[in-house]
Amino acid sequence: MEELDKSCEYLSGVCPVWCPGCGYYGILSALVEAFADLKLPTKELTLVSGIGCSSRLPYFVKAYGFHSIHGRGLPIAQGVKTANPELTVLAVGGDGDGLAIGGGHLPHVARNNVDITYLLFNNAIYGMTKGQFSPTTTLYPVTKTSPFGLAGEAINPSALAIVYGATFVARGFSVKKEHLKELIIQGIHHRGFSFIEVLASCSSFNTTDMNVARIVKNLEMIPEDHNPEDAIEALRLAADQEKIRLGVFVRNQRPTLGDKFQEMRRKAKGKGAANMEALLGQFA
């Protein structure tokens, strides 16, 4: 069978440590198949992650992986892309990693429009630390750290990303692998900050919030005629309470951080020669 699908070339051989039935397996295979379709050379593939179940993904992918510290995946990815724009940089994080401790970085990496793809695995629980509620937990009020109900209102990651001005916002579902694969491909193609929220079930600690059956029941694709440039309509769709919308909410173009740096360099060139002599001149 010569068309043995190429995706397994992107697997590093390290055996995934996720619990059986975890939604993240679907995401990993969608991601790896997307790489295969895009025929990305593994040497230019860089995966940066924070801390949590989601952030173990880089170990299982044959690429340059950076498993950093809690909530700091995005700024590190921003640094990597700045230092080497040729790389295809992906940041990976969970709902705790991306919206709780790392929440402060999301608006700025988004408004900087760094040309990276950010996958936020939303399983509405802290899985690695075994069952504390997370910023997106809603239907599973009693957790180990909220025995008497949740304190705050849940965050809607996609709506947040739209408001922060991310130029590509989409939402996928780990079970609908084909659709998720398409989203990831579009995300990587998109020039600028691509934010993809991926709903996934945590088979061990939260089967109520991201219960596959519940999601399947009120799942709906974003209508074809939705204009991805229209952020307000996108926000209405993303924040929809009854229906869970899947697909691309926002896609528009604006200069990336890399473009801005090039612009700065061009302007700076006009201000004197680019050598130490010239620089020291002002101190003479």
Binding site: M1, A213, K217
Partner: protein, 349 residues
């Protein structure tokens, strides 16, 4: 004979000539809250037949009617009724080995009688006969064709695992060419099963069945649609289900998915259905799955050791490929109608 029409559309088809409105498509996850067989059956690990039975029963229950199953002796019966019953709310009548269709006919007649006496409303019951390939192709064929000829209203499901599995993998009427079974061994003089498999659905159509279909548990939506259609259509409908059997096919127990996919891609199993318009005597054939990768039969032989011997005999593989091509050429009009370039013969060995 009947004149043949082809349905241009390839794929899932909840609609039918013979039904006022389409049957229910259970969607990707078949999320319907009802069980087929209950737990505790003694099937082997990786048995495809049990999942076939499960999906048929769950599809029939969708009609809301009480399912009465007339089952023939065989693996499916022995493993589910060993000093107990795993059939849940389904009522089961196991009579004998050769007479599954006869037993079905008897139960239909009993229902008709009760209906006439006003005891039970026929709409509330769906009669289904379930037997293996041995019990359908060989010993029970006579009873089956007679039941179809009598045009009695019911569903006959043949779980085809392509050999007599319960008695220890002996060759049956449905055993593919070249297969090594204990009664058609891959010997030095005669190499494996010499017979080419007969095709049950063609026989059923010829006998006058209003609706026949081939399905596999992997494409559960397609299977469950066909089961519902067979129940809804008035008259004797026949459904043949592809059942992987790791013990008999000597394959790993966790390659149920790959084997079925290969069966479909090498077209050694074709998902199709046929409906017969009674008065105009025309039969509409619908192809439900078109092979994407068009693989040669040698790929299908790889995962199953029952074909181990055959793999080293190119002319046997070529013969098997010819059998498949002959069967597949029937669908040429559909391919051309869909603008798909007709490949004379897949890349053989």
């Amino acid at each position: 004979m009947y004149n043949i029409l082809f349905n241009r559309h390839i794929g899932l088809n909840p609609h039918s000539l013979l039904l006022p409105e389409p049957v229910r498509d259970v969607g990707d996850y078949g999320a319907i809250a009802t069980t087929g067989l209950t737990s505790g059956h003694q099937g082997c690990v990786g048995c495809g037949m049990v999942s076939g039975t499960n999906q048929v029963l769950r599809a029939l229950k969708l009609s809301g009617k009480h399912v009465v199953a007339s089952i023939g002796t065989g693996c499916n019966e022995v493993i589910t009724t060993q000093n107990t019953s795993c059939w849940g709310e389904v009522s089961v009548d196991h009579n004998n080995f050769p007479n599954t269709a006869a037993t079905l006919s008897g139960n239909i007649a009993a229902l008709k009688a009760l209906a006439q006496a006003g005891g039970v409303s026929p709409e509330s019951i769906v009669n289904v006969g379930i037997a293996g390939d041995g019990g359908t192709y060989d010993i029970g064929l006579q009873a089956l064709l007679a039941w179809i000829a009598r045009g009695e209203n019911g569903v006959y499901v043949c779980l085809n695992n392509q050999a007599y599995m319960n008695t220890g993998v002996q060759g049956s009427g449905a055993t593919p060419y070249g297969t090594d079974t204990t009664t058609t061994p891959f010997g030095k003089a005669i190499r494996g099963n010499q017979r080419t498999p007969q095709y049950l659905l063609d026989l059923a159509l010829a006998a006058g069945a209003p609706y026949v279909a081939a399905a596999c548990p992997l494409w559960h939506r397609d299977l469950m649609i066909k089961a519902q259609k067979a129940a809804a259509i008035e008259g004797p409908c026949v459904l043949e289900v592809y059942s992987v059997c790791p013990e008999g096919w000597k394959s790993d127990t966790d390659v149920f998915h790959e084997i079925t996919e290969l069966a479909l891609e090498t077209r050694s199993w074709i998902l199709y259905e046929a409906e017969r318009e009674r008065d105009t005597n025309t039969v509409l054939f619908t192809l439900n799955y078109l092979a994407k990768k068009y693989l040669p039969i040698s790929d299908y032989l790889r995962l199953q050791e029952r074909f181990a011997g055959m793999r080293d005999f190119p002319e046997m593989v070529r013969r098997a490929q010819e059998i498949i091509e002959a069967r597949w050429s029937f669908w040429r009009p559909v391919m051309e109608a869909n603008g798909i370039e007709w490949k004379e013969e897949a890349r053989a060995i």
